[in-house]
């Protein structure tokens, strides 16, 4: 068995037991990337190899002298390229940041380093996390390890592909409207978007500040719980960070689901949902029922308002968040310009891709004088109503179960032709962001072509443990996660 077939916590255990070293793990990860990444394009930037080895040696020493004892010590990690890494280029997969080397690291990255992580590189993504396919990257599309003709989903497609292909044991992604969960589903891996405020956003290059959360993408629920436990922290550098004393997520791994109340929104099983996906998800619900959970269908309501509300709020915030990329202080600046305004216009016109420009324009329009109330304010009110609908649902249920995405991974190039259709594909994931809820995406089957299907479990705010427990129970029953190549394990 190759080291890269191990989960992150399995690898961490072997390192701790002295069976392998952190250096071996790092070397094997680098080898794998060399071998596989030409076909996948999961990485934008690899850390300097000598630096990685040096870091692995240092971590190994700390493991040996007992100063590093965590489950992730010595395990290589890949980070989505919108997380600032001191001294390591961070591009957001955009031309405009193609030369940006941050002077500081994101808090979540620092937390991982404290846990003994060895950073291997930065993963590809949709430009500025805007997209659902990882095709809008300035560095080219990411390919799905299960089928190179298909997308990985997005925007954390590089992280999901790197884990699915065994390039690294785990990765960090970010989720603004489903960007961890949907590529996890398309690539047959597991990912958690935590409750808003659980992981510090300091150092995460903002797309939509009120919705963005960092979270793990890994091979199983156990890894996700351990990684989330490592990165979650109250951070005085992030005013939206929440003080929690219940971030011992690994304590939820185990137990049974007897009596757990699971609600399935009828609204999620209507038009637009692929039949095979629907069948696999409902079969997963049956599995949980067999295990003792109380499963019930209900009407959530407002589902069709979630996508429009999301795209207005996210675009509005993005239009402001992305203003700072102006060619003045860092990043790309146009070669030829006369005067300040032309410098701004050309740098931004040349530096941003189509999808980013589309959302900046959409957001600028939504915030414009005369339209603010009709669009932005209305979207905020819708957001509040969606939150209320979930509050009501969580009075009845512990977990809300549904699909992650309406289909399996589409073919490359299919989605960008029709952005509206692509946006509607986010229908099952955006609500968790609008309502700030934790949600996990994990494999629950494959379709007739062998493409992975994801199951989504959503919990109430701060109830990560509930969904981790349910997901862990389901995962054990369902068996091993799906391997690249499409055979069901």
């Amino acid at each position: 068995m190759s080291l890269t077939d191990l989960t992150a916590t399995e690898l961490g255990k072997r390192i701790k037991e002295g069976k392998v070293t952190a250096v071996d793990a790092a070397k094997e990860s680098l080898e794998n990337i060399k071998e596989k990444d030409k076909g996948l394009n999961a990485f934008v930037t690899l850390a300097d190899e000598a630096g990685v080895i040096k870091r692995a040696e240092e971590v190994q020493r700390q493991i040996e002298d007992g100063s590093l004892t965590g489950p992730l010590a010595g395990v290589p990690v890949a980070l989505k390229d919108n997380l600032c890494t001191k001294g390591l280029r961070t591009t957001c997969a955009s031309k405009i940041l193609s030369n940006f080397v941050p002077p500081y690291s994101a808090t979540a990255v620092e937390n991982l380093e404290k846990a003994g992580a060895v950073i291997i590189g930065k993963t590809n993504m949709d430009e500025f996390a805007m997209g659902s396919t990882s095709e809008t990257s300035f560095f080219g599309a990411v390919k799905n390890p299960h089928d190179a003709e298909r997308v990985t989903g997005g925007s954390s497609g590089g992280s999901a592909a790197a884990v699915a292909a065994g390039e690294v044991a785990y990765a960090l992604g970010t989720d603004t409207g489903g960007s961890i969960r949907q590529p996890s589903a398309y690539c047959g891996v597991t990912g958690i978007k935590p409750t808003y405020g659980t992981v510090s956003r300091n150092g995460l290059i903002a797309y939509a500040s009120s919705l963005d959360q960092i979270g793990p993408i890994a091979k199983d629920v156990t890894d996700c719980a351990a990684i989330l436990e490592a990165i979650a922290s109250y951070d005085t550098k992030d005013s939206t960070s929440v003080k929690r004393d219940d971030t011992d997520f690994t304590s939820a791994l185990g137990g049974d689901v007897k009596g757990l109340k699971i609600g399935i929104p009828n609204d999620y099983f209507g038009e637009g949902l692929d039949e095979e996906v629907g069948t696999a998800v409902l079969a997963a619900a049956d599995t949980l029922k067999e295990m003792g959970a109380e499963v019930e269908r209900f009407d959530l309501g407002l589902v069709h308002y979630a996508v429009p509300a999301y795209y207005i709020i996210a675009s509005a915030e993005a239009s402001s968040n992305l203003s700072r990329f102006d060619g003045v202080k860092y990043g790309y600046r146009a070669k030829d310009y006369e005067g300040l305004h032309q410098m701004y216009k050309r740098s931004r016109s040349e530096g941003f891709g189509e999808e980013v420009k589309r959302r900046i324009m959409l957001g600028t329009f939504a915030l414009s004088s005369g339209y603010y109330d009709a669009y932005y304010m209305k979207a905020l009110k819708t957001k509040a109503l969606i939150k209320q609908a979930f509050d009501k649902a969580f009075e009845e249920y512990d977990v809300i179960l549904g699909p992650v995405a309406p289909t399996v991974a589409p073919r490359l190039g299919e989605s960008l032709i029709d952005p509206i259709k692509m946006y509607l594909g986010d229908i099952y994931t955006v609500s968790a962001n609008l309502a700030g809820l934790p949600a996990i995406s994990l494999p629950c089957g494959v379709n007739s072509r062998g493409l992975p299907i994801g199951l989504q479990l959503t919990g109430n705010c701060f109830n990560e443990k509930t969904i981790i427990k349910a997901a862990f129970a389901f995962e054990r029953k369902y068996g091993e996660s799906i391997k690249p190549g499409g055979e069901e394990a």
């Binding site: 957001c92 002077p103 915030e317 990329f325 102006d326």
Partner: protein, 475 residues
């Protein structure tokens, strides 16, 4: 020509005296090398986030309470979006929808009448960096040291109608804010900046005319000149049958004229929206009470107290309390030497004169209350006479010297020794027979001349009373 009245409202920016910036831990200190008081937050680095400095909220609340505002207990920050290189995020964090203070007022005194100027709101915001044009390379450089320095903007209603009222309003705000310690409020250095919104209308009309906004007013004198100039400019336009254009104008105090910066048509759409990085601020009743309790004794109260407690004339008490710095010196020095009236005289006399001569503010006073008190003691004890005292005070004012050791060192103590003086006086009488004759002939003035000659012979250190007495005796 018809009669016109002027309608003026003010937007006053005040730099708050916090040690660190509004959204990061960088120092606010003025004058560091360019871009040394900076971090990822105040330079707009990707991924950096603002964290509110609580002290900014407290200062803003304190100013609001002192100006009779309601405190908005659920205020929050908004983003004002516009591109400019001194604005590192290309949006400014400010308050539009829910500013911290609302509906206040201050009472101003102008030429003996009192007037109420209403305050529409006070909001908190961050300052921008500074652009420096590099002549050599024909480019612009940015210094982000000032970026993120906390400001409050005090927006008045259009309740003023003359330059005198505007200056009285600004002085009232300045004194109040200085007493609070919330800012030093220096116009020249930019820690207090006023934009004047002005329109004119026919006297008696209740309809407002079209207003202009005047920027770049760096002194009270500039403000007065700009108001006069803008009022006349608008009247000429109306008299000529034209229409005033709503625009922002920039005052050039050297040329004593203004020019248009941008008209309303060019006004940008700032696309304000609540900053998602900063949760709303909840201000509890307890917090408001705490700030209220910390409120210092303001000018008016001190003035009253100086009149009743120390017997200082009203006018003098007014001048002393204009500056908290001077008022503090007055109280401390008076406590040390127990001669408040003499202390007051030094402050409103020589101190004010020297401040004017050196173009300084009372805030720039360097001398300590201790040294002023010592000087007063030296005069009271008769150790030095008044002309020596003036000389010593200039030294105290300039270098905060210790008057006791200075007098000792320089041998400036007054000569009170009658026998020593008697010889000199006799000598002066002998050398000035004409004056002696004049005096004896009834010319009182001649005595003054003889006193002067004696003082001169004594190097200014003689006790003038004693010289007088001896002269009369010997003549």
């Amino acid at each position: 020509m018809k009669k016109y009245e002027t309608v003026i409202g003010l937007e006053v920016h005040v730099e708050l005296a916090t040690k660190t910036k509004i959204f990061c831990g960088c120092p606010t200190q003025f004058g560091g090398k360019p871009n040394t008081h900076t971090c990822p937050v105040c330079t707009g680095m990707p991924g950096s986030l603002p964290v509110l400095n609580k002290k900014v909220v407290e200062y803003a609340m304190a100013v609001g309470l002192a100006t009779n505002c309601e405190i908005n207990r659920n205020c929050r920050f908004d983003r004002k979006n516009y591109f400019y290189p001194d604005n590192p995020q290309d949006y400014q964090i400010s308050q539009l929808y829910e500013p911290i203070c609302l509906n206040g007022h201050v009472n101003i005194n102008v030429d003996g009448y009192e007037k109420k100027v209403r305050i529409h709101e006070i909001h908190m915001e961050e300052d921008a960096g500074k652009l420096i044009h590099d002549e050599l390379k024909d480019g612009s450089l940015i210094d982000f040291n000032r970026s993120g320095v906390p400001l409050i903007e005090i927006v008045s209603e259009p309740d003023m109608s003359s330059a005198d009222e505007v200056i009285a309003y600004l002085e009232t705000l300045r004194t109040t804010i200085q007493y609070l310690g919330a800012s030093d409020c220096k116009l020249q250095e930019g820690s207090m900046r006023a934009d004047v919104n002005l329109s004119v209308r026919e006297a008696g009309s209740d309809k407002l005319g079209t207003r202009t906004e005047m920027k770049n007013l760096n002194s009270f004198k500039a403000i007065a000149r700009a108001i006069e100039n803008e009022r006349n400019r608008q009247i000429v336009i109306i008299e000529d049958g034209g229409q005033v254009i709503q625009e922002t104008r920039r005052w050039d105090d050297n040329k004593e004229e203004s020019y248009s910066m941008r008209s309303k048509e060019d006004a940008q759409d700032y696309r304000y929206f609540p900053d998602p990085d900063l949760p709303g601020i909840f201000i509890s009743r307890e917090w408001i009470d705490e700030i209220k309790q910390r409120e210092p004794e303001f000018k008016a109260a001190r003035q009253e107290r100086y009149i009743s407690e120390y017997g200082i004339p009203k006018g003098d008490a007014d001048i002393i309390t204009d500056s908290k710095k001077m008022a503090d010196i007055f109280e401390e020095a008076s406590a040390l030497c127990n001669s408040p009236k003499k202390i007051a005289n030094w402050l409103i006399g020589d101190t004010i004169r020297l401040l004017k001569e050196h173009d300084m503010d009372p805030d720039d006073i360097k001398f300590s209350p201790e040294n002023l008190a010592k000087l007063v003691k030296l005069t009271e004890e008769g150790t030095i006479n008044s002309s020596v005292a003036t000389e010593v005070f200039e030294k105290v004012f300039a270098d905060n010297i210790d008057p006791e050791s200075y007098v000792k060192e320089k041998g400036l103590a007054q000569v009170n020794d009658e026998s020593a003086l008697r010889d000199t006086v006799q000598k002066v009488i002998d050398e000035n027979p004409q004056s002696v004759e004049d005096y004896r002939g009834g010319k009182e003035k001649a005595l003054g001349f003889l006193v002067g000659q004696t003082m001169k012979a004594m190097g200014g250190k003689a006790n003038p009373g004693l010289v007088n007495k001896l002269l009369k005796e010997l003549l």
